[in-house]
């Protein structure tokens, strides 16, 4: 048996009113990749924050035994000195600084009064090479994509001489390809003796990379599955996470009649707002029928969001060309307001950034896109507004004590429901859902899928943008595959498999 590197014993952490962690035990052996899985709010991130000293010693109960000794970390620096480095879910790089500057931020090379830039960049380049990046460390972070940024985060951790690397949802903002690169990198470092703890929602990744999987539910560790001794399947993990078996991850859609074409886009071209010579969407044509779920699959940066937002009242891009027909009639929508009036809704992928007002209650968020419906000559009818909010809360089964609760206090899945409620209340015929299940747990995902089914059953059309293949295949009637601003394939549900979709992308990449 390998040496135990880390043992967390009976960790209990309480916040005012909530027990976030309840007697949690975690054993990590040297040189393994240990995955932590669990629904949102189960306590995974809290546990890692305890470990890395974000919650200082004394603010929790229990012991952390690392490398044979009991640790009392008071701040992140303490744990980093021991080689425990955490990479948070949100990228923490500063866009206007170079990769090298970012990597040694707070840990500068050279003397205390002068930074040795040659050493900084030289060392940084060395670590960049280790993670497989060929970019120069003098490149500004804002000029590299999210995939590479995540690699920079890992290089940064290595530069701190990490022995135990903690990754919190490292692939949540990465596409399939970059995710795979990252996971392979972890496997490579494992061989070289690095121990990692990975928190992830993506079970296929977890079962691919992890040696052991610990399931956390409601602040307690439920079980630890060992790849050596037990067969680990996604269904097995889900059962541990939700405490029951989910037989079907995608709900069956009752026979929905697919009607006439109600949205048609032809030769749609969108240019980048800052670099107008660059085409972000290049000659895309598509049709959407009533009662149909149309999936748009593509990797991050393929131009999916840009396509959706440019259709939604030109809220993204410049120099937009092409025609947009709604119910056979050509329309020109230049403002989000016009798009809403023409019964189009765009449900953003970035619910915190541009979807919801986190500091406002559910009630206010629900009605924001359709205030006229709850007001009389622009005076808001608060009773009506309250009733609307309650109605949608119940319809979508949003878990909250009251609709006066601020949206920022809700979990990701419930926030997504509020966002959906907001756009459903705007009464659209066509809903563009951009990554509707990003960062939410299995149970909430299922509920979102049910809502999508209800919407098409009412004769509405849904365009679902996703970078998760199983979801795209499981939910769509028809799939467009997008890559580098172009549609590179159109597949019916019965023809769609992971292989056939990826083949569309590969064909284009090879220039065929």
């Amino acid at each position: 048996m390998a040496k135990v590197l880390l043992e967390m014993k009976n960790i209990t952490k309480t916040f005012p009113g909530v027990k976030a962690l309840d007697n949690v035990n975690l054993v990590v052996e040297e040189g393994e990749i240990h995955a932590l899985v669990g629904e949102n709010g189960a306590g995974k991130s809290t546990l890692m924050n305890v470990l890395s000293g974000i919650y200082p010693y004394g603010s929790y109960e229990g012991d952390i035994i690392y490398d044979g000794e009991v640790c009392k970390f008071n701040k992140i620096k303490d744990s980093e000195e021991k080689g425990i480095v955490i990479i948070h879910q949100e990228l923490a790089l500063i866009p206007y600084m170079s990769i090298g500057e970012n990597m040694y931020l707070g840990n500068e090379r050279g003397k205390s009064y002068s930074i040795d830039w040659n050493e900084t960049y030289g060392e940084a380049d060395k670590y960049l090479k280790m993670v497989g990046l060929s970019d120069s460390s003098r490149t500004l972070v804002k000029e590299i994509g999210t995939g590479k940024q995540q690699m920079v985060e890992i290089a940064k951790a290595l530069a701190k001489h990490a022995k135990l690397l903690i990754l919190d949802e490292p692939t949540s903002s990465l596409n399939e390809e970059d995710s795979r690169t990252l996971l392979d990198l972890l496997l490579k470092f494992k061989k070289e003796g690095l121990t990692s703890i990975i928190i992830s929602h993506k079970l296929n990744e977890v079962s691919y990379v992890a040696d052991k999987i610990t399931v956390v539910r409601d602040g307690s560790t439920i079980e630890t599955l060992d790849k050596k001794t037990t067969e680990i399947s996604e269904d097995r993990i889900i059962k541990g996470m939700v405490g029951r078996e989910i037989t079907d991850r995608f709900p069956k859609r009752p026979n929905v009649k697919i009607g006439d074409v109600n949205l048609e886009v032809t030769d749609w071209v969108v240019h980048h707002p800052q670099y107008p010579e660059r085409k972000v969407v290049d000659g895309v044509s598509m049709t959407v029928r009533k009662g149909e779920v149309v999936g748009i699959y593509g990797l991050m940066g393929a131009g999916r969001t840009e396509l959706a937002m440019s259709i939604f009242g030109r809220s993204y891009g410049t120099g937009i060309e092409g025609t947009l027909k709604l119910d056979g009639k050509e329309v020109v929508l230049t403002k989000p307001k016009q798009a809403i009036e023409h019964k189009i809704a765009y449900v953003t992928e970035d619910r915190k950034g541009n979807g919801l007002i986190l500091t406002n209650p559910i009630r206010v968020n629900t009605t924001l896109a359709n205030l006229d419906a709850v007001s009389n000559k622009s005076v808001i009818d608060f009773n009506k507004e309250y009733q609307v909010a309650v109605e949608y809360k119940e319809k979508l089964r949003t878990k909250t004590p009251s609709v006066e609760q601020n949206v920022g206090n809700l979990s990701g899945g419930n926030q997504q429901k509020v966002l959906l409620a907001k756009w459903m209340f705007a009464d659209p015929d066509i809903l563009i859902l951009d990554e509707p299940t990003r960062g939410i747990d299995v149970g909430a995902k299922y509920e979102i899928y049910c809502i999508i089914n209800d919407l098409v059953a009412q004769g509405k059309s849904v365009i679902m943008i996703s970078s998760e293949l199983p979801e795209t295949i499981g939910m769509s009637d028809r799939i467009y595959v997008m890559n580098e601003g172009k549609f590179v394939g159109e597949l019916k549900q019965e023809d769609a498999t992971q292989e056939s979709i990826m083949a569309c992308i590969m064909r284009q990449e090879r220039g065929e």
Partner: protein, 389 residues
């Protein structure tokens, strides 16, 4: 105990206001702070702050934007008004109309640059701060223009006439006070009954009674003090302030327009994608600010009955301070008209109290600066505790 803490937290500034008032009543000679004339001066001296603070509140709600140009704009508008009325003998109403148009033109210019060219507001309004004071000083050759026609000054500096003509106690003033109290209570009771009928959550009856008693007591105290101020009664300044405050309170708390201001303070991008023309709202905030600046300019000119180059100096700072002290978030998204009014009153009381005890003018500024800083720090701490819990 927890309940008491909650009440203390919610009403901190109001309690501080009362304590500060009592403090000055004790330390001023003969309790001068509590004299009828002090109540009158409090209103006269601060009328413009109330008006500007309401405009500033609208700007600040959108991501904590401020308008630094209002003090200079007050002087600029007044300089034009004074020249028209005094040097060119233009009828008062035409002069006032021109002042409004000039104000709106300034507002449209600033709003356009801020909202549609996308320049940070503090830079644009800093330019306005410099340019308008300079321009106005040039227009008036640096001279004070005095002798503003009475037809204009009495619109603001006058008093609501007493129909009973009692020389020591203005009965009209008392009656208006009583009517306001009754109106307040009736509105409260009706809205509560409506809520009960529809089965919504309502505040406890005892809380409502306590609130009503305190509010009516304050109104009647003011009514009594103003009535006994040598029978002068209610200054027109107060009428202007109350009307403006009621209108803007209605807009911000009850209308879709008001809702949009708060929404933008929370998340501009989400508001834009909800189909709201956020640039237009930002434009409107600055247009509206300058409109209210014109009203403040009228008040300032009638109070001094002249336009001099020091007119309006630091007015923008007074308005911003009033908002901050009144709990308007410096980052946008939260704040109320009532809060801004409490803030303005608190600063007004401190100002008046300090001059009554003859504190050196420079030290007065130090005290005001400290009050502002403490208020912001307090707000941050208060919010931090809220998010932790």
């Amino acid at each position: 105990m927890q309940q008491v803490q909650k009440i203390l937290k919610e009403h901190t500034m109001k309690i501080v206001l009362v304590l500060v008032f009592i403090f000055f009543t004790i330390i001023t000679p003969n309790g001068q702070m509590f004299d009828a004339s002090s109540f009158d001066s409090l209103i006269k001296q601060n009328a413009y702050v109330y008006i500007l603070a309401i405009g500033m509140l609208m700007c600040m709600l959108i991501k904590g934007n401020i308008d630094l140009s209002v003090g200079s704009a007050v002087f600029f508008v007044d300089a034009i008004g004074a020249i028209l009325m005094k040097k060119m003998d233009v009828p008062v109403w035409i002069a006032m109309l021109v002042m409004v148009l000039v104000g709106l033109a300034i507002g449209a210019l600033i709003g356009w640059v801020v909202a549609f060219i996308n320049i940070p507001p503090w830079i644009v309004t800093l330019a306005g701060y410099l340019a308008f004071r300079g321009w106005a000083t040039a227009l008036t050759d640096g001279q004070t223009i005095g002798g503003i026609p009475e037809g204009f000054t009495k619109l603001f500096a006058g008093y609501v006439p007493d129909i009973f003509g009692n020389p020591t106690c203005n009965i009209t003033c008392i009656i208006i006070g009583i009517i306001s109290c009754i109106a307040y209570i009736v509105i409260q009771v009706i809205s509560r009954n409506n809520k009960v009928k529809k089965g919504y959550e309502v505040e406890k009856l005892s809380a409502l009674i306590i609130k009503s008693v305190i509010i009516t007591a304050v109104i009647m105290l003011f009514a009594y003090k103003l009535a006994t101020n040598n029978g002068k009664g209610i200054p027109f300044y107060l009428i202007w302030v109350v009307v403006v405050a009621l209108i803007y309170n209605f807009i911000l708390s009850k209308t879709t327009l008001g809702r949009v201001f708060y929404a933008m303070g929370g998340n501009v991008e989400a508001t834009r994608l909800s189909g709201i023309n956020t640039k237009l709202i930002l434009f409107f905030a600055y247009l509206n600010m300058q409109f209210l600046t014109v009203i403040a300019a009228w008040m300032a000119m009638t109070r001094f009955t002249s336009a001099s180059s020091k007119l309006g100096l630091y007015f923008e700072m007074d308005a911003i301070s009033a908002c901050i002290v009144g709990g308007v978030s410096a980052y946008g998204g939260s704040g109320t008209v009532f809060g801004a009014i409490i803030g303005a009153t608190l600063i007004g009381v401190i100002n008046l109290g300090m001059s009554l005890v003859n504190l050196d003018n420079n030290w007065q500024k130090v005290v005001k600066g400290l009050v502002l800083l403490i208020a912001v720090v307090f707000e941050i701490f208060n919010n931090r505790k809220k998010t932790k819990a």
